[in-house]
């Protein structure tokens, strides 16, 4: 199923730029863009919150949205077992 990325402002202490990631109608992740304060990782995307199979203790950071999309798709494909959505 298709992943869509919807722009949103996220109050997580960064500059605000974020994306709500949907798989069909289901919200599966919130990504935020890292501010200049993160030096080497600035401008990258952080998995601020993952839901269901994307939830975990070690949220990753991505260089760009394409990389985030690939990771999210792979995780969902790997973990998909019909438990989190119909």
């Amino acid at each position: 199923m298709k992943l869509s990325f919807e722009p949103a402002l996220v109050a997580s202490g960064e500059d605000g730029e974020g994306r709500l990631v949907y798989r069909g109608d289901y919200l599966v992740a919130v990504l935020v863009r890292l501010s200049a304060a993160h030096e080497a990782e600035a401008g990258g995307w952080f998995l601020e919150k993952g839901f269901g199979p994307l939830d975990g203790p070690n949220p990753p950071t991505f260089a760009g949205l394409d990389e985030a999309r690939a990771w999210i798709a792979a995780q969902l494909a790997h973990h998909f077992d019909g438990k989190y959505w119909p």
Partner: protein, 249 residues
């Protein structure tokens, strides 16, 4: 093996540490200073003792910064404690044959290895040394309880403020602080591995603590801004460290 004078210099770190938590007779201190030892220098990120090892010596940190850790599935690491000069992080190996975790040098570190035989003999001959080691082990457990409560129930801001308070208090007790500042030679990723946080969260909170004037930090150097407020931010009460003397900063 090193000369007796050299040994005294290395072992005096241990005596300074034990004095912060226990009463030692002058005889006991002399006996500690006469322990045989083997010195070894470790590079940054080298294992001092590894999980699964069956050590025949205990590792006394003379110089440098070390941590105890476990590697979990998918290469994730949990750091379980930080150690500086005077600590014997693997004292348990005196009574537990196999290491159930590893000890790592986070900076270049000088380690004095104390053979188990003479160390055990010392605890038999000097009950106050045995009591001091026991007390050290009990405080170790108290620190783990505090960390468990933190990782389970404290916010990212509380965890980081708490850890800074703990390390500052412990290092001040053994004379490793300079006024209100100390060296915290760990990366944000290592802090994250200790506190169960992503390095993104560690970075955010460090910025926040700086902005709120709770700390001043430059690289690995941390100065306490407002001690009372930092303690409040970290929900920190030094009681669990059971130091004999707890002076105000």
């Amino acid at each position: 093996m090193t000369s007796p004078e050299m040994r005294k210099r290395e072992l005096s770190r241990l005596v300074v540490k034990l004095r912060t938590i226990a009463d030692l007779s002058p005889t006991a201190e002399q006996a500690l200073l006469a322990l045989p030892l083997r010195l070894k220098v470790f590079e940054e990120n080298a294992d001092i003792v590894s999980q699964g090892d069956e050590p025949s010596e205990c590792a006394l940190v003379v110089d440098g910064f070390a941590c105890r850790y476990k590697v979990l599935g998918e290469g994730q690491r949990q750091i379980m404690s930080f150690h500086s000069s005077g600590d014997i992080p693997d004292l348990q190996s005196l009574h537990l044959r196999v290491m159930d975790h590893s000890l790592l040098a986070l900076t270049p570190a000088t380690i004095a290895f104390l053979p188990h035989g003479p160390l055990l003999a010392l605890t038999r001959e000097h009950p106050d040394i045995a009591a001091a080691f026991w007390r050290d082990t009990l405080i170790d457990a108290a620190v783990f309880r505090e960390w468990l409560a933190g990782v389970g129930r404290r916010s990212a801001r509380q965890r980081i403020a708490h850890l800074i308070c703990e390390l500052y208090t412990r290092m001040r007790a053994v004379g490793l602080t300079d006024g209100s500042s100390f060296e915290l030679p760990v990366t944000q990723a290592e802090l994250g591995d200790a506190l169960g946080l992503s390095s993104v969260h560690v970075n955010r909170v460090m910025q926040e603590l700086r902005r709120d004037d709770l700390i001043v930090s430059r690289g690995r150097h941390i100065a306490i801004g407002e001690w009372e407020r930092l303690q409040a931010a970290g929900d920190f009460d030094p009681e669990y460290l059971h130091l004999r003397e707890q002076r105000a900063a």
